[in-house]
Amino acid sequence: MKTIKELNDISTQIRRDLLRMINAVKSGHPGGSLGCADLFTALYFNILNHDPANFSIDGKEQDLFFLSNGHLSAVWYCALARSGYFPINELGTFRKLGTRLQGHPTPADEIEGVRIASGSLGQGLSVAIGAALTKKLNKENNIVYCLMGDGELQEGQVWEAAMFAAAKKIDNIIAIVDYNKKQIDGPVKDVLDLGNLNKKWDAFGWDVLEMDGNNIEEVINIINEAKHLINKSKPIVIIMKTIMGKGVDFMEDNHNWHGVAPNDEQLNKALSQLKETIGDY
């Protein structure tokens, strides 16, 4: 089991990795990826019951993770590579012609760790529910995780899925909302206010938890708390507060870094704030 310090080191390395990847192709989405680096580190190095060296689409007897907001592909690929799903050198192919690391994730090129395509928003929770139903039919006691963006909750399908999961007692699923309060066009409250998120999920019949997504220790503790609510007839959602662009001072809490690549100068400035810990790819 890795210590919190070791996990923080991995998270810092992942932040370096994803910024270098995005800079190299001058395209990608650094803001949300930086904000969620701590969550991905906690999931892939502590929380998930998984087998990175023997990936299969079916993932039997393993926990499953689905990324609904597929534009966070960069941080996901980093977590997958760093935890052993595929060689870290492949990170350098991100978004380049012929890569398995497509701009948005897809199983089409058989990249280990990815089980469904995402990018067009609002669909991942439904997919996770389907996979959770199969776990139940197969009598597997594993958990299905799904990460969504907060802006993504503006998609109606999310609420179809939310209604279904509660009504049908899909209680082997933990959904996580990346609540950084930013989307492409600006603050979520200005684009289309989500209102009281906790009350909304509660009214839809979910158990609602909250956590600071940029504190690895808290992430682990709260998800472990959520695990205790598994198999108790209700789906679980964690409203995870994060800071978009976390770790790079000039990117933090600024929606303009949703989908813009840092140039070379900006990259160097960013990397100076993120110490190389376990070695660059």
Partner: protein
């Protein structure tokens, strides 16, 4: 002209429902999902007998398609059921991303396709579904002609690994293909050998093509009639070999001309052996309320319309 006996009059959707129940008994990985149209889709038997493998989604088709994609992860074979319009145009992006691009083993089963849905009118009469589905890479597109063939197709697609769109309909129509037939995806079926023209028909238009064949025979025209149940993959060899002999083509379908079977045949022939062709299809208009037969007459999708198109195309050939 070969004579086909009407074994019974049945709706194609019942072929789907009966096969689904049979699949439930024989394949424990088959699961079914429905969006509040269980009775219309004839899924009641499966739902009753295999309640733990049947998922009532409610009126949320987008959720249904994405859940179905998720169910494949771990080895289930999901069959989704709703009207053809809600199976395709309503959920195109979910199908594109979660099913086709992700190449998931989902069977999208769609009833009440086309004008023969009848009185509910154009909101429900999808005439664009074949086009939408065939444009998607990885997607197989099947449109069956009667009860027996729909039943056989439903059984067959469970054994095929990959996304399938299976289209059938609402009305009671002649059931004339063999009971317990073997169904091969991508295989055209020769119904009548002929030399003067090839009629390629799909779905409810197959029986109309047989009726037209008899009318043409009375006038001394010997029509080759081919049932195309698999629009994608298309049986290219069967199409080309027939056309090499007859040198002119009529296509017939309950669908828009844009994107339909005729469009696929024309695309193939124009790049292999350019051939005079006439297409029976709805031509860039929406349908309307009416009795199925009235609509087929008004939109010129009846056997007499096939005869008229045959006469036109034979004249073109000469």
């Amino acid at each position: 002209m070969k004579t086909y006996q009407i074994l019974s009059n049945k709706d194609t959707r019942s072929g789907f429902g009966d096969a689904l129940a049979e699949l439930g008994r024989n394949n424990k990985n088959v699961v079914a999902l429905c969006a509040d149209l269980t009775g219309s889709l004839k899924m009641d038997a499966f739902a009753k007998e295999f309640s733990e493998r049947f998922f009532q989604i409610g009126i949320a088709e987008a959720n249904m398609i994405s859940i179905a994609a998720g169910l494949t992860i771990g080895g289930k074979i999901p069959f989704t059921g709703t009207f053809a319009n809600f199976s395709t145009s309503r959920v195109y992006d979910q199908i594109r991303q979660c099913v086709a691009y992700s190449n998931k083993n989902v069977k999208i089963c769609a009833s009440h396709a086309g004008l023969t849905l009848g009185e509910d009118g154009a909101t429900h009469q999808v005439l664009e579904d074949i086009g939408m589905m065939k444009m998607l890479p990885n997607m197989v597109v099947i449109n069956t002609c009667d009860y027996n063939q729909t039943k056989a197709a439903t059984l067959a697609i469970a054994d095929y690994l990959g996304p399938v769109y299976l289209r059938f309909g609402r009305p009671v129509v002649p059931n004339f293909t063999p009971e317990n037939q073997k169904f091969e995806i991508g295989k055209a079926l020769l119904l009548n050998e002929g030399t003067d023209v090839t009629i390629f028909a799909t779905g409810h238009l197959v029986w109309k093509a047989i009726e037209a064949g008899h009318m043409l025979a009375e006038k001394g025209i010997n029509a080759e009639i081919i049932n195309i149940h698999s629009i994608k993959p298309l049986d290219k060899d069967a199409v080309i070999n027939s056309v090499k002999k007859t040198r002119c083509v009529v296509t017939a379908e309950e669908h828009q001309m844009n994107g339909g079977l005729g469009d696929s045949i024309a695309q193939l022939l124009s790049q292999t052996i350019p051939t005079p062709i006439r297409m029976l299809a709805v031509n860039d208009v929406f349908g309307e309320s009416g009795k199925p037969e009235e609509l087929m007459t008004k939109y010129k999708l009846d056997s007499i319309d096939i005869v008229n198109k045959v006469n036109e195309v034979i004249e073109m050939k000469q």
